[in-house]
């Protein structure tokens, strides 16, 4: 498993696994919180839940001024990813890739894509970004 030393064993970097607070139902992704961000339960009892790969943009911002090595404009979105089963969606933060600005709005369906997030030296670190579904480009 590739990844930076400090979080190489985090399964949720490569799998759409969320953590559901058993006190209030709030779902954390990708972090597994020790204190529930919504109800404050501590130490929170978090249960792993499987997330779907398709979700909906809740809001987004477009970054225009970034270091030279990053292509701009770079949209960043808050995406609600439903659970595979019952329960609340996870609210995920992620970069958008392969997506033009005119293709996105609040409510746009996006799909989680396994992509190179950054590199640790020469080593690629892969995790999730979001994009509009590929078939919509046809």
């Amino acid at each position: 498993m590739s990844g930076p030393r400090y979080e190489r064993t985090r399964r949720q970097d490569q799998h759409l696994i969320g953590f559901e607070c058993q006190a209030c139902g709030w779902v954390s992704f990708p972090e597994e919180k020790r204190t529930c961000k919504r109800c404050g339960d501590a130490p929170a009892e978090m249960t792993e839940v499987q997330l779907q790969e398709r979700g909906e943009i809740q809001t987004f911002v477009v970054q225009q001024y970034l270091p030279d090595d990053i292509e701009t404009p770079q949209p960043v979105a808050i995406v609600d990813l439903p659970q595979a089963g019952e329960g609340e969606p996870a609210r995920a933060y992620g970069l958008l890739t392969e997506t033009d600005l005119e293709e996105i709005d609040v409510g746009t369906e996006v799909v989680a894509r396994f992509r190179e997030l950054f590199s640790d030296g020469e080593r690629p670190i892969n995790s999730f970004k979001f994009s509009v579904p590929r078939e919509e480009k046809a």
Binding site: M1, Q14, D69, F114, L117, F118, S119, K129, A138
Partner: protein
């Protein structure tokens, strides 16, 4: 019996029109070549193809017995692809992972290795071919440098497989004309000499062993050039299925990507042939297609070919460079 139960491909979104490359560089200018996005690499592309193949099979990633990858362009000497694909799919623990490389025959070697593993262990195996060929502006091959991935799931049996293995052939000659160092463009030699002593000696022998008298209706071929791919099928009267005009040179991955495309577009009950010619010889696999062919349950190669965006020659070169900084500061 070993069957293919699940097939899928992946082609990056971006394409460079080869005529744009020819306008700046000279050389051939027909067709287009796939350009990986800056945040794509061998592992991410392999996972996309694997996801499609697994979606069409009845196999969960965690139930795979082995993951075998084939690539002639893995940039790492030590890092690998197969174990990372396996981990992403949840295939960890007692799972065999194998990275095959060094020749385009890696594709047929991967299929043969997987077939033997399935037969010996009665467990499903994922085969993935993935390549991103380097684009060197000093090379005549710059316009054709492509990228893509293909995947198939092999099982001992399935309710509705896409194909059944009918034969595997190999011809090791040790002959090498086209060769390439890591990250550099390939070097080709005398085309006539290679046609006669390279592909001309290796491919027919491997094909004959795989077919064992059968007559194929369709075939795919991976080779260092379009001409050599055609020559690899030279002795067989067969319809060639190829994405090369839309994808470019996809290395060893071309054999598996084109096989996925073939299985998506062919009819059941046909003999299909996979040939890979490269450094050291040739490999061939004969298949009998079955009712599981088609495009159900996953994105098709045709969808990837149609859903594309044109990019520039500059991006064609730039996007193949390693990402040094992408959103988060590196330690």
């Amino acid at each position: 019996m070993v069957v293919i139960d699940g097939h899928g491909g992946y082609v990056p979104l971006y394409r460079v029109d080869r005529s744009e490359v020819a306008a700046q560089h000279g050389g051939r200018g027909r067709g287009e070549s796939a350009v990986p996005a800056r945040d794509e690499n061998h592992v991410t592309m392999a996972c996309e193809a694997a996801d499609n193949a697994l979606a069409r099979s009845g196999v969960e990633g965690g139930n795979l017995g082995a993951v075998v990858t084939a690539s002639v362009s893995d940039p790492f000497a030590e890092h690998g692809i197969a174990a990372h694909v396996a981990a992403r799919l949840g295939a960890t623990g007692g799972v065999r992972t194998t990275d095959l490389r060094g020749s385009r025959c890696a594709a047929t070697d991967a299929l043969a290795t997987a077939q033997e593993f399935v037969a010996a262990n009665d467990a499903p195996v994922l085969v993935v071919g993935v390549d991103v060929l380097p684009a060197d502006p000093e090379s005549d091959e710059v316009a054709e440098a492509g990228a893509g991935a293909g995947a198939v799931v092999l099982r001992p049996e399935a309710d509705s497989p896409a194909a059944e293995f009918a034969g595997v052939g190999q011809e090791t000659t040790g002959f090498v004309e086209h060769h390439r160092r890591h990250g550099e463009a390939g070097e080709t030699g005398d085309a006539k000499f290679e046609s006669r002593h390279g592909v001309g000696e290796a491919a027919p022998a491997a094909t004959e062993r795989a077919l064992d008298g059968a007559t194929p209706a369709k075939a795919v071929a991976a080779a260092p050039s379009d001409r050599l791919a055609g020559a690899a099928l030279g002795g067989v009267d067969v319809e060639q299925v190829s994405t090369r005009d839309r994808v470019g040179d996809a290395g060893a991955a071309a054999a598996v990507l084109d096989l996925a495309h073939l299985l998506e577009t062919t009819e059941a009950g046909e003999t299909a042939l996979v040939v890979a010619y490269g450094a050291g010889g040739a490999g061939a696999v004969a298949l009998e297609t079955a009712e599981g062919v088609g495009t159900a349950d996953a994105k098709s190669v045709a969808t990837y070919l149609d859903a594309s965006e044109e990019t520039t020659y500059a991006k064609h070169l730039e996007y193949r460079e390693p990402v040094e900084y992408e959103g988060v500061k590196t330690p």
